[in-house]
């Protein structure tokens, strides 16, 4: 069974440019999470989806970040425009939604903003 798939793995852009990250969760997992991991820090939740509904986006900086999960399967996280401080790893995770606590993480998308 395939795990959580993220792309791109690495992205280098100049500030003020847009960037998008894609995530395909494990088949059958109705809960999808985007986490932000700054260097030397633990992951922090950006947004959580239950199927296609964003049920917790309280930590998503909505002035420049947006996300969608059309059809309740894969998801896209967008930053427009990117700032230097957005350099980080963006992790996607999925779970069955019954909150047994086992989140399955993708390998992450590492963003560098120059």
């Amino acid at each position: 069974e395939a795990g959580v798939v993220q792309s791109p793995r690495y992205k280098i852009i100049e500030k003020k440019q847009p960037v998008a990250f894609w995530c395909n969760p494990i088949s059958g997992h109705n809960t999808l999470y985007w986490y932000l991991q700054n260097l030397g820090q633990g992951p922090e939740l950006l947004i959580r989806y239950e199927n296609e509904e964003a049920v917790d986006d309280s930590q998503l900086p909505k002035d420049r970040f947006s996300a969608e999960r059309l059809k309740g399967v894969d998801s896209t996280l967008k930053i427009q425009p990117a700032e230097l401080g957005d350099s980080a790893v963006y992790l996607c995770a999925s779970s069955l939604g019954d909150f047994t606590g086992e989140l399955f993480f993708g390998e992450g998308s590492r963003l560098t903003v120059l």
Partner: protein, 111 residues
């Protein structure tokens, strides 16, 4: 507010030596507790979890952790470390809808 503290940012142990990584949490209710491991350039992998019952939980790769409610701790242990255990380790507490992670402990293993 819920939080997780991992007091040791970086730990170095010799291969074959025992290991203990510390974790303290702050949460008002009965906690769900987790340890994840992250190898360089990889996502996080679940090592073990505690929901209820026996306070000593066994995980993958020979790791175990002990929940101590009186100390609000959930320390991770391994009796004999292997070079392949070098990675970053995250403790997390489960609150409704998400996991809250500590800042992580980087483990270096000396040959």
């Amino acid at each position: 507010a819920q939080s997780v503290t991992q007091p040791d940012i970086h730990i170095t142990v010799s291969e074959g030596a025992s290991l203990e990584l510390r974790c303290n949490y702050s949460y008002g209710a009965t906690p769900y507790l987790f340890w994840y491991v992250q190898s360089p350039g990889q996502g996080l992998q679940l090592l073990l979890k505690y929901f209820s019952g026996d306070t000593l939980v066994q995980g993958i790769k020979g790791f175990e952790a002990e929940f101590k409610r009186s100390q609000s701790s959930f320390n991770l242990r391994k009796p004999s470390v292997h070079w392949s255990d070098a990675a970053e380790y995250f403790c997390a507490v489960g609150v409704p809808g998400k996991l809250i992670f500590g800042q992580g402990t980087t483990l270096q293993v000396k040959p």
